[in-house]
Structures are given as structure tokens and as C-alpha cells.
Amino acid sequence: MQNVTFRAALVLLALFVLTAVFGPYLVEHDPLKGSLRARLEPPLWAGGTSEHLLGTDRLGRDMLARIVSGARISLTVCVVVIAIAGSIGTALGMLSGYVGGWLDRVLMRLVDLALSLPVILLALLVGAVSGPSFGNIVLVISLVLWSQYARMARGETLRVKNEDYVDLARTSGLGHVRIIARHILPNIAPALIVVATLQVGVVIVLEASLSFLGVGVPPPNPSWGSMVADGRSYVVTAWWVSLFPGIAILLVVMAVNIVGDALTDRINPALRGRTA
């Protein structure tokens, strides 16, 4: 049972990545071009035409094309955010755990503070400073998420630091940098990968909320989150506008979580549930 779901999730994720990479070459419509005359057309089976399988949005753009190219945008946001938040969080967390002492205390307080940041307000402020842009979203979401990596990296570093092989490396006279690079980082990486996996969903949903408040991925580029946000006024009249990107989000989030859970089970069951 577990295995079947895990495989299904993996396949789904692979599809997601493939769609993000190759999808735009496969759909015939331009996700940015539409015709006002063909706006809000329902999907094929709900009375629409084969021209637009999943219908059209409020500017007459093809939903399928937008969902496909939205995959790329959402994936890019995820990857960039996770790369930024992950590297900052990991670096600080490792430092905190490795050095210890007052630095650890200060950094961990900072993490607590970051956890209690009213993120969305900050996002709004930042959004207001320079308008919503891809960079801002990434910045703001990273600002929220780095702390999770820092926590995990610190905890794991503390664990690994106490492993005898680290002491052995020290008795061999290895420098701190080498010890961190060779002995600590590779051994805390799996836990961080799990965090990263589970954060994919968080990022997508957070981006959607920011879009709702008007500081998400700027139009006309479609992200799944902004598509759901755009479609909220049509929940009754043109349900497909928000439902399809919503389902896309749902499937991906579900898949990454299942994969993430399975990874945790495999990599380090002690981390189960302690992430994201």
C-alpha cells in the first residue's frame, strides 16, 4: 500500500518536472495570448470546444496552456526559494550548531523571531516598496522559510557533531572547514532534503496567498497560485478557472509530501513529523 502510493507520487512528481521543462513546447496555445471574445469558455466536457480542452480564463487564454506554463513558474519559484532559504538556513544552522555558545543562542533567537514574523504583512510591505515581482516573492518567501532549515541544520549538526567520526577527524588535525564540508554537511543533507521536499507545497500555497493579496507573481505570467487567486470570483460562474490550477497544486503538494514522508522514513525516521 505504502509502496504503491509512494510510486504514484514519484511518477506524479516526475510528470510535474517534465511538464515544467517541456510542457510549453507541447501545448499549441500561447499562455499569454487570449481573445476577449472567447473568455471564460468552459472545458470540453462541460460544453466547451476542443479548441480549449480545459476552457479559458477571464481574458480568453487557454487554461491548459496556462497550467502547463504555470508549472514552470511555480517550479522555478520553488527551486529558487528553496535554494536561497536552504543555503542561508543551512549555513546559519550549521554554524550555530557547530560553534555553539552565545552565537548559537543569538542565532536561535533570530530563528524564533523569524518564525514569529508576520510574514504576509512583511510581504505586503515589501510588495508595496517595489511592487510585486518575481524577485520579491522569492525574497519574502525565503525570509519565512530559511528558519526551518536553520533549525533542522542546527539539530542535525548537533547530532552529527557528537558522532565519533567528527572527533576522529579532529584528532587527525582536520580544519573546521574540512570537517564541516566532509563530515557534517553530507550527513545532515538528507534531513535538509526532506525539509526541502516538504516545503515545495508550502511555497506554492504561500505564493497563492500572496497573489490573493496582490503581491504574487505579477501578471500576465501564470503561476498556479495566482491563477487560483484570479479565479476566486468565478467559483460559481466559471469554476474551472480556479479549480484546475487548484487541482494541480493539490496533486503536487500531495505527491511531494508523500515522497517527503517516505524519504524521512528511509533516511531518518527520528525526524518523522518534525519537519515543515
Binding site: D164, Y165, L168, T171, H183, N187
Partner: protein, 318 residues
């Protein structure tokens, strides 16, 4: 003959929430070439602390460790490298002492690459050599630790220690996590290597029987202090300190007909945060007198080449 390594009134006090914790106090030992010294004591008595101080993983709060007569903190960079080559540890837990992400070859190379000037091929040759010395094969060098059993891992750890041709091996309970059949194998490997390479060993253990097997000389520690010190056969047959006697009594022989020992242990081990004044063992000692409660006994050397820190023994009290 000069000691490879010696400790002089070595002490380590940890600052903890509960106050100062004297993990180790006034410990002086000498590790002579080709000589094997055992350190026995129960959990928390400071065995690992001693090890870490020697390995420079921790710094003493009192006293010092000397390498061939020179205090560790005064070593030059080159001497430090030499020290790191000369003194090699093997730790208790073979699962934690091998980095699971590195192949065996990398693990064994590490001290060589860091502390010797050997070239790449020379190092590789050395890796193969030590692997064979501990009963593994050169092929094993390309595997990951996870592919080995506990006993094999401990062999890898020993190979790693052996690689830089040390003079002294520090063995911190190297077999206590092993099964009986594996334990014997490792102990044999260690004694064989010791004889073959002419190594000195400092063997730390909580088990008197293992120490007896491994060592010429034994130091008994209780709550961070040496209580008795002497040749292994004497300690295990005619212990004089009441604690050593209790420890011996508690080391149950695999013989249903063995007589119960005269001095069975009593009471709890006191917290190292609040060690009893005077002789730390007086709370559990059946022979304790008034003086034991107030005056800390000094270790006095005797004719057998040992020393006992006990008022009663030293004053011929019993």
C-alpha cells in the same frame, strides 16, 4: 625508558548548571613504549574524559598531558603532526566512528593525508596493507561502512588507527558494544597487532576481565580519581583498595561454583556534582572510619610497583 605520553595531575572540571563537575582530578599516568596500560572504572568515572584530554579534543583545567616530555600546548606545528601520527584512538561505538558517507578508503586515508607526507599511491598501498593486517581485504576499501557488520567496522576503525604507524593506541572500550564471539576476535586482533608493531596501548574499559586480558598494568578510577594502580595480575587477584575489591566481586566469573567475593559492593555511586569529602568511596566502603570521611587519602607507592589511595591500606588498618 621514557614515556611516550604521560599525564601530570591531570584534571578536568566542567561547568554545569548544577555547579562545577569534577570529571577527572589529579590523574597521573605514564604510557611507556610497548607497554599496555589499562584504565578501569564504572560509568561516569572519567575514562572518556581522560581520552579526550589526551586527544586534544578537550583542554584540561588542571595539570597537563605531555608527549615525550613536552606539554601538548607547547608543541610546534610539526611536533603536533608527529603527535597526531604517534597517538591514534579507537572508539567504543563502531557505528558512530565511521562516517557513513565515506568509503572505507577515504576513512583510512584521512589521518594519513592530514599528518604524513606520503604520496597518493603510497597512501593507497598503506590502506591495503592495514586492511589486510586487521583481517579484511583490499577490496573492502571501496565499500561503504553500512555494508559491514559491527565487528568488521571495529576492524576498520583499528585499521584507520594503525595506518599512520602510531606508537600509542588509545582504546576507549573498543569491544564493549560487541558480541561475545566478535569481542574475542577483536581482542585477539588488538593483541596481535600490538605485539607485531610494538605498540603501546592505553586501554580504557569498565570490565576488569577484559583489562586483565589486554594489559600489563591497571589503573582503577573512582569518581575521577585514581584509587589504585598496579600490575594487572595483582589487581585482579589481590586487589587492595576496597573499591577494587568490590569491582572484582561484581565481575561475575562464568562459573556457577565460584565463591562469592568477600567484599560485595554497597550503595549508589554518588553524583560527581557533589562528591563526598575525604575519600570519595567512604559512602560505600564497609571499612570506612572517621578519617575517611574528612581526609582525602594520598596514593602511596608500594613495593609491588603499585599504589593505593586508601587510609586503611596505607596505615595497615586491616
Amino acid at each position: 625508558m621514557n614515556a611516550i605520553l604521560s599525564t601530570h595531575a591531570l584534571g578536568r572540571t566542567f561547568r554545569t548548571r548544577g555547579g562545577p563537575l569534577h570529571a577527572l582530578s589529579d590523574v597521573s599516568i605514564d604510557c611507556m613504549p610497548r607497554h599496555s596500560l589499562g584504565v578501569v572504572g564504572e560509568s561516569g568515572c572519567g575514562k572518556t574524559t581522560l581520552n579526550r584530554l589526551i586527544l586534544m579534543l578537550d583542554t584540561p583545567t588542571e595539570g597537563e598531558v605531555r608527549f615525550k616530555g613536552k606539554p601538548l600546548r607547547m608543541l610546534s606545528v610539526a611536533e603536533r603532526r608527529a603527535y597526531r601520527r604517534a597517538v591514534q584512538p579507537v572508539f567504543q561505538n563502531p557505528y558512530s566512528s565511521l562516517n557513513p558517507r565515506l568509503r572505507v578508503r577515504r576513512i583510512i586515508r584521512e589521518p594519513l593525508a592530514a599528518n604524513t607526507d606520503l604520496s597518493g599511491p603510497q597512501i593507497d598501498a598503506r590502506v591495503d596493507e592495514v586492511l589486510e593486517a586487521v583481517g579484511l581485504t583490499a577490496r573492502d576499501a571501496n565499500r561503504l561502512p553500512a555494508e559491514f557488520s559491527g565487528g568488521q567496522r571495529q576492524r576498520i576503525a583499528i585499521a584507520r588507527a594503525l595506518a599512520s604507524k602510531p606508537e600509542l593506541m588509545l582504546l576507549d572500550e573498543p569491544v564493549s558494544s560487541q558480541d561475545i564471539s566478535i569481542r574475542a576476535q577483536i581482542l585477539n586482533v588488538l593483541t596481535e597487532l600490538r605485539d607485531e608493531y610494538g605498540l603501546a596501548t592505553l586501554f580504557v574499559s569498565h570490565d576488569l576481565a577484559t583489562v586483565r586480558f589486554m594489559c600489563d598494568e591497571v589503573v582503577v578510577i573512582y569518581l575521577g580519581r585514581i584509587v589504585e594502580h598496579g600490575p594487572a595480575n595483582l589487581i585482579c587477584t589481590a586487589p587492595r583498595h576496597p573499591y577494587t575489591q568490590a569491582l572484582l566481586a561484581a565481575t561475575l566469573p562464568a562459573d556457577p561454583d565460584a565463591p562469592a567475593m568477600a567484599v560485595p559492593p554497597e550503595g549508589e555511586i554518588p553524583s560527581p556534582l557533589a562528591p563526598p569529602p575525604g575519600c570519595a568511596y567512604h559512602t560505600r566502603c564497609p571499612f570506612a572510619r572517621e578519617i575517611c570521611r574528612s581526609v582525602r587519602p594520598r596514593a602511596e607507592a608500594d613495593e609491588a610497583g603499585g599504589a593505593v589511595a586508601c587510609h586503611m591500606v596505607n596505615q595497615g588498618g586491616w
